[in-house]
Symmetry: C2
Subunit: 129 residues, 2 copies
DNA sequence: CTGCACCTTCCCCTATAGTGGAAGGTCAAG
DNA sequence: CTTGACCTTCCACTATAGGGGAAGGTGCAG
């Protein structure tokens, strides 16, 4: 299976597959006699795992850690649980921050909408902010 | 007022001020005879506006647009209102996406926490994802 | 024989908001 | 006269996940 087929099968680009190899998410690909990468079913399964992990918002670095555990012969479940827990914590923090920022911006915006003719003195650039 | 003083007064670094100048947020600074940048009160006011805008989550590009309107002699209030509106829309979209992702991850995590001894077949890498 | 689709490596670019550090100039104090 | 605290410019680097495009090799169809 050449890189283009594998990429098409996963809905990825060949660039992405080479990039994953470069990042260590895919092992050094087996080469055909003409130098072309030759992928087997296990690579496609690996790509599928990467995609599932990406859907869960894991970074390539986190995914790489999990794959390393698997490649070392271990069962990465504990690692995955940790990654998911960290992911949840991070998401909660991000959401909290964004909601707070939204409140700030909404306050500014309401004030801006209420003040019809604002005296923007040039010293302050704009009094709405 | 030299760059270090101005930066200290705003709680910024000299790097940041030079960067803002490079990005066009600050006009080309007036130079003293020794080549040092020499800032006046209007630059500090401008920096303060930049900081207020950044607190509202505006990007440097958006802030630059507003400053350009002001520098062209206009009143940037309408521009500011637009920027705030776009900011609100963007934040809502981001928050929605993050909340959805959080739900997805929480689902995975709950499943991972519930399944004590999961049969992680190596083909799937890890069945938790 | 030539075109076309596919593959290879390589390096640079995207967007964001700066930060780090090198090499060198300036100025007041000791 | 030198030390130290400033200042100057310029180049590279941070993190993220690839994308763009050049220059060249491979293989099959017409």
């Amino acid at each position: 299976m050449r890189i283009g087929e594998a990429a098409a099968a996963m809905g990825m680009t060949t660039k992405t597959l080479r990039f994953y190899e470069h990042r260590g998410l895919l092992p050094t690909a087996h080469r055909a006699s003409n130098g072309y990468r030759d992928y087997g079913g296990e690579t496609v399964a690996r790509l599928d795992f990467i995609r599932r992990s990406r859907v869960a918002g894991l970074t390539l670095a986190q995914i790489g850690d999990i794959l390393q555990v698997r490649d070392a012969g271990g069962t990465p479940c504990a690692h995955v649980r940790d990654a998911l827990a960290r992911q949840l914590t991070g998401l909660d923090r991000q959401i909290t921050e964004l909601v707070a920022l939204r409140a700030t911006v909404a306050e500014y915006y309401d004030a801006a909408a209420a003040a019809d003719s604002v005296s923007c003195d040039s010293e302050r650039i704009c009094s709405l902010l």
